[in-house]
Amino acid sequence: MAGQEFDEFFRACFDPVARALMLAGAERELAYDATQEALVRALRRWRQVRELSRPDGWVYVVAMNYVRDRWRRQARLRRHDPDRAGGWASVDPSGAIATRLCVRDAIATLPPRQRQAVVLRYVADLPLFDVAAAMGCSVGTVKSTLHAALRALRVEIDDEEDADADG
């Protein structure tokens, strides 16, 4: 049965996923709800999920989708789309950041989609393909989003992404 094994997975998974969601811009409550919902869905099809090479990756993807859904719904309510929000872009994305030492400040100035991409790729350590699934777009779009984010963060762009996509 799914008893012991799922409990362990749950303990190992809940905190990292929820924190990553917060890092990607979700509020604490939403991060909690999204993680819980993703784990509910994981338990419902535990037999399939446990067979995956990265069961936690599945949880990241589902939870991030949940967060995006919630944002979209809120955006519709106040007719304001956070994915294209003007508020986020108000900070100059290149000049000021380079001088900042704290990555937290820098990442906070990224537009939401770039933030999501960075968190899924470098915090959750998901392969590009899973990042694309979590963001509901193509691998190519993820790559260009990451490039833009890395440029804004003044990170040297190595060819890690392309090599990764081939593999």
């Binding site: 799922f6 905190d15 915090v123 963060l153 990170v155």
Partner: protein
């Protein structure tokens, strides 16, 4: 900074976020609840399907029994033209009996055909759609019907302009009547100035035409009434239009095997006919059509007075 440094920095920021403690029991409870809901939906669907099939199969002889009444069609008969669909407001036997009573006694109902409730009704409706019979039930009718698990009744009304309204009145709260907006298949539109003799000649030709199930004449006044309704928000336009500005027309119901093209050619060439239009695209389109004709009629005067 390089990507591995970014990873490390992000890790530091990540670690600064206060840790979460999830409750695995809540998750298990929610999964159990959802499983219960899914299971009950599945059971409900199964029961509905079984009941529907039993009604469809077992109800067979009962249907023939009832079919001895003079208006209801038996399973082997086919309705020639479906003018609308009657959906009882609930699935009780009493309501249906009262609906059937109304259909039997109503002077505007020519024939009707009853389809069994639930899934079976839905399936039959889909069959209707697939076979392209004259007037399949609309999606809305099917949805209402399958939600209520009631029977679905196809009705053929007598060709009288207020037939639907009268049936609706006599059904009162027992059932809803969904009429098919396309209760005619083709329209022969006369020229605005067509003579009485020309109109009579067309009428005689229609009456003798075997490709038609029925036809209805729409005179100047009837055309004007529709026009008035469609343009109720433009009183100036209505005021400046006289009934005689609008063309008279015949609305045809084709026999199932008849071809639109043949009928169109047959009437297009007759004197006094302006156009023969295909299946109706909705009343608004028709109204615009009449409107443009009316403008044409007025337009000749305008052009005449121009220097």
């Amino acid at each position: 900074m390089r990507t591995d440094e970014l990873r490390r920095e992000l890790g530091v920021v990540w670690a600064e976020i206060a840790p979460f403690t999830g409750d695995v029991r809540t998750v298990r409870r929610r999964v159990a609840r959802r499983r219960a809901v899914t299971a009950s939906v599945v059971v409900l669907l199964l029961v509905t399907t079984v009941v529907g099939v039993i009604t469809a199969l077992g109800g067979g002889h009962r249907r023939v029994e009832v079919a001895t009444t003079h208006k209801q069609l038996g399973p082997s008969q086919e309705m020639r033209h479906v003018s609308g669909w009657v959906v009882p407001t609930d699935s009780s036997a009493n309501t249906f009996a009262s609906v059937q009573q109304t259909l039997e006694t109503s002077s505007v109902v020519e024939q009707y055909e009853v389809f069994p409730p639930g899934t079976a009704a839905q399936m039959l409706a889909i069959t209707y759609l697939a076979m392209g019979r004259p007037a399949p039930p609309s999606a809305k009718t099917v949805a209402t019907c399958s939600a209520l698990h009631t029977r679905l009744v196809a009705v053929q009304l007598r060709s009288s302009p207020d037939a639907a309204t009268r049936l609706r009145d006599s059904l009162a709260n027992d059932a809803k009547l969904y009429t098919n907006p396309n209760d005619w298949d083709m329209e022969v539109v006369m020229k605005v100035g067509a003579s009485l003799a020309q109109t009579r000649a067309i009428q005689a030709a229609l009456a003798a035409d075997h490709d038609l199930t029925s036809y209805r004449f729409v005179d100047h006044q009837a055309a004007y009434d529709t026009f008035k309704k469609d343009f109720a928000d433009q009183p100036a336009l209505v005021e400046s239009t006289k009934p005689s500005d609008l063309p008279e027309s015949f609305r045809l119901q084709l026999a199932p095997a008849a071809s639109h093209a043949t009928v169109e050619h047959r009437y297009q060439v007759l004197p006094g006919v302006d156009t023969v239009s295909g299946p109706p695209g909705g009343t608004l389109g028709g109204a615009f059509f009449s409107f443009s004709l009316a403008q044409q009629a007025c337009g000749t005067n305008d052009r005449g007075s121009k220097p």
